[in-house]
């Protein structure tokens, strides 16, 4: 029986890094799932596809911090995708990203993800990369760092 949900690659940091890259991603799956656990510098972790730094990224999120009602905001026309946020260096920030139909060359690319900073918030985000190109590379960036011990695992999900 073929494996439908398959690990592609894992990176576990042995020192603080400013960037983590998954390259040469095969187009043989339907969706990608990228799971990040571990600490990061205070601020945003961001992401780009295929080294595109043009203002082709946007997103909408809903989140709660445990105080008052939930909140929602968005960004538009940015040169990077805002994936998560940590309000203090060292907080454990977990993110599960679903990169849907990543290899199709007809539609723009949508990412839906859930994330949380264990000491700050829980939230969900939807992102758009306005490009019909198949995704072959994913770059994740800290601000400035993704911390030693963080783990990044990329899975492929394959439909019939």
């Amino acid at each position: 029986m073929p494996v439908t949900y398959e690990p592609i690659a894992t990176q576990t940091l042995t020192s603080d890094q400013t960037q983590v890259t998954f390259s040469s991603i095969a187009g043989t799956f339907t969706d990608l799932v990228l799971v990040k656990t571990g600490g990061q510098s205070s601020g945003n972790m961001t992401m780009r596809f295929n080294s595109d730094s043009g203002t082709n990224y946007s997103g909408t999120q809903v989140f709660g911090t445990g105080s008052g009602s939930g909140s929602s905001d968005r960004y538009s026309n940015q040169g990077t995708m805002y994936i998560n946020y940590s309000n203090a260096t060292g907080n454990s920030v977990t993110t599960i990203m679903n990169i849907m139909n990543y290899a199709n060359t007809t539609t723009n690319k949508t990412v839906i993800l859930r994330n949380n900073d264990s000491a700050f918030y829980v939230g969900a985000y939807v992102h758009l990369w306005r490009s019909t190109a198949a995704i072959t590379q994913i770059d994740l960036y800290g601000s400035p760092n993704l911390q030693n011990g963080s783990t990044f695992t990329l899975y492929g999900v394959k439909a019939a």
């Binding site: 029986m1 339907t30 909408t60 679903n98 990412v111």
Partner: protein, 187 residues
């Protein structure tokens, strides 16, 4: 390397046969009013639907399309709750006794972008329980968008053997290039 559980499911990835692709529907030219998965085997523990999809229609149409189980469209057999954000504020709502479960499904009327959806149908073949779905969906159109969680109950103990995604009303259609994939998760 130890595989991690897929989002929204309880199976462990990387083990042959534990997360299986059952069927896929890709919408062709001209669109369609209904996407269906039929003759769903009862051999799994849970189901997951992963989709990108878009509907169009007139501005007066409610921008969702809906899930029906086993062809059941009875008004009082479904209930749903949703939590979402529209980029300005968070909101929560419910649809009591709706003729179809909304499942937190969102569509962009006449928009250029597709909605991504992940829907978990839990313990779908159990004939001793009502059926619960959990959904996570969202779309963004660079200045507009929504991110939404949904939970639904189908007030029937029947095993689920078919799932329909149905537009609310004509002339709304599920548009070309929409893609729905049904997976089974073994327990």
């Amino acid at each position: 390397m130890s595989p991690l559980p897929p989002l929204g499911s309880f199976a462990f990835a990387g083990v042959s046969g534990s997360f299986e692709s059952i069927a896929t529907v890709s919408v062709g030219s001209g669109g369609t009013s209904t996407v269906s998965f039929t003759s769903i085997p009862s051999t799994f523990k849970h189901l997951q639907i992963r989709a990108i999809c878009k509907v169009n229609g007139t501005a007066s149409d409610f921008p969702d399309f809906f899930i029906r189980f086993n062809g059941n469209s009875t008004y009082t057999d479904y209930y749903s709750h949703q939590l979402g954000g529209d980029g300005s504020s968070a909101y929560a709502n419910n649809s009591g006794g709706s003729s179809t479960a909304t499942g937190g499904i969102v569509g962009d009327i006449n928009g250029a972008q597709f909605t991504a959806k992940i829907i978990d149908v839990l313990d779908y073949a159990n004939t001793n329980k009502y059926k619960t779905t959990r959904s996570f969906s969202g779309w963004d159109a660079n200045g507009s968008g929504q991110a939404r969680f949904g939970s639904n109950v189908w007030l029937k103990t029947n095993a689920i053997t078919s799932i329909d995604f149905v537009v609310r009303s004509s002339p709304t259609t599920i548009q070309q290039y929409s893609h729905f994939a049904l997976y089974g998760i073994k327990g």
